[in-house]
Symmetry: C2
């Protein structure tokens, strides 16, 4: 394994910081950052800013100009070597005359030319891989999941009381969590390619599921609705605006009721009497969804954990005891004994306004 | 208000640290610490070690010996001036020749002679009050609650899953939380004068509710059981050992079934069909209980919050999703709308082993 210096860790950290600026705007492309370093000075910086636009390397080389000659390029992802919407970055790096390339992690994207390192070596450029690899993979976990696992990275978000209630029995749930948590949810939405919910949430809450924070310039996430028998009201808010909504059902008899050109109905296979959720995720991956945010009720959330499809939980716990006349977080008919329930690993728990924000990952049986 | 120097804050902090060493052994007496300072040096230290034993000041004066002359005594509580199980401390301080006394907070104990500061002034001793008062009151919040509010400080402890379940529907609840949380509960018990539970918990879990950690030399907390119709099994574990158990009921017909000399049955007034919990707390205060720890099921916990009798929550959240076939934390028939539920203030939330330990205080309607 290549050893890297403290300075190099610093350069790659800066490249990662730059890459993060593309969090809301690059998908389905990955988030990528690049810094060009000459004689210990950062002479060029760039990041992939928007889907279809120039890659990070091109921005950074442009920023460095002639100083790129004999410099080292630190890139958070293996430079592309294929002709897509933009030209291949490896050739641009060769042309600019860099003498060394350090990238954090390999690009799993299948179209990439696996002979790329050879091409660079032939041009006299030395190549090192693996600096801050974990951090770089984490940044693009949705992209990696889509390309490698053929499904999006699934984040399940819940706003609950300390005693685990998501709503009163009546359905009343606004506003359990505070301002800071709601702002944070806007960021979660903005960094997701799609938001998944169920027909129950459409019926009860009639949400828009859009990015409302105007400070966040984001690609509008696609709203994905699981509506097994296509029974949500066609005049629900989510079917009225100019943003894309996809409905997944097993029975599309009512399909013609959904007239908005932005609303598309997908008929998928059954799993019992329900939409096969794994199939939905596979379709979403094929359509370029890297990160899927789930904002749903207990039935859909329960089904997703029982089918082991959730990758991460983001739980906002409000300082509230809602008591017993309430709805629980997860409907889980299969959990009858403690050892049948789902273990999680709490990765982070911190105060956010008056609430607690907790990030956790499931430990599914196969791994446990 | 008296201004205190940074050095003085340091002396009182040390006195508070000493006082905490009595957390498991002084009740119903308060926890008190004392340092004697001469020419900037701490020349004597003491703390109240056990109920009925010498007070903090006596230990500290003994430790200082002749160096107490013209020294300053920093004490976490107003020195006593009455003849109880031990002689009055103000006279001991006068006799030792200290020139100044700084104490953190007044002693609310009614037997205290309110002319004490005059007595000290007459002896040429200057007296200052209020250094780290809040911290000193916090340390003895149970003692203050008992003396001033005529009820113990009530801490409600719960071990729950992230989704707010305390047990599976079957009652299965061992072990939701981890080793570190269970050890922490032993400390909570050891610092409590009594532990409160309900008949349901005795029937389902058959607990001992003792301090099992042999490292904690503690006064055995009294087990207090709410058993409205006196229907728990007389052969339950809690009635078999040599530690004290008090049962509160409204119907004591079965009283003679409880033969263990350590078990005492109290008949109290009704509140609806249930034991009047406020009366129970008043009786416990009269009997010298400063700190009451509640370890109970959803009905008793729910009744305590609805009657606004809980002062603090200690909630251990385990990294577990237990799902929908589970028991909730609080049975609250009166909470039907969000604004009828109980707001809390999360004072602390931190990882403890694999669990999260959260400390919160209720914000009752009158205060909200």
């Amino acid at each position: 394994m290549t050893e890297f210096t403290k300075e190099e860790v610093g350069y790659m950290s800066e490249a990662l910081r730059l890459a993060k600026q593309g969090c809301f705007t690059t998908h389905p492309n990955p988030r990528v950052g690049c810094v060009i370093v000459s004689d210990g000075d950062i002479v060029g910086k760039g990041w992939h800013q928007s889907y279809g636009g120039p890659h990070a390397e091109i921005h950074a080389l442009h920023d460095a100009g002639k100083k790129a000659k004999k410099a080292t390029a630190y890139i958070t992802l293996e430079p592309c070597s294929h002709h897509g919407k933009t030209g291949p970055c490896d050739e641009a790096l060769i042309e600019a005359g860099v003498s060394r390339i350090v990238y954090a992690t390999e690009d799993p994207f299948e179209k990439n030319d696996k002979s790329m390192p050879d091409k660079l070596n032939d041009a006299g450029i030395s190549v090192s891989v693996g600096l801050l690899r974990d951090e770089a993979k984490q940044l693009n976990r949705g992209f990696f999941s889509r390309v490698i696992n053929k499904k999006p990275f699934v984040t399940l978000k819940l706003g609950v009381s300390i005693d685990g209630a998501t709503a009163m029995e009546s359905g009343e749930s606004q506003w359990i969590t505070g301002e800071a948590a709601r702002k944070d949810v806007q960021k979660l939405r903005a960094s997701s390619g799609a938001i998944l919910t169920g027909s129950g949430t459409i019926k009860i809450d009639n949400p828009s599921l859009t990015v409302r924070d105007e400070m966040l310039k984001a690609i509008d996430p696609i709203r994905v609705i699981i509506d097994t028998k296509l029974q949500t009201a066609p005049d629900a808010k989510i079917y009225q605006d100019d943003k894309t909504t996809w409905i997944f059902c097993v029975d599309d008899e009512n399909k013609t009721l959904f007239q908005n050109k932005n609303t598309k109905v997908f008929k998928v296979e059954k799993n019992g009497n329900y939409v096969n959720l794994r199939s939905v995720l596979e379709i979403l991956a094929k359509k370029g969804i890297n990160d899927l945010l789930v904002e749903a009720g207990s039935h859909l959330c329960g089904a997703l954990i029982r089918e082991e499809l959730v990758n991460e939980f983001v739980i906002y716990q409000a300082p509230l005891i809602m008591g017993s006349n309430t709805r629980k977080m997860f409907h889980t008919p299969g959990y009858n004994k403690l050892n049948e329930s789902l273990r999680i690993n709490i990765k982070e728990s911190k105060k956010l306004g008056e609430d607690i924000k907790m990030i956790a990952e499931p430990i599914y049986r196969a791994e446990a």
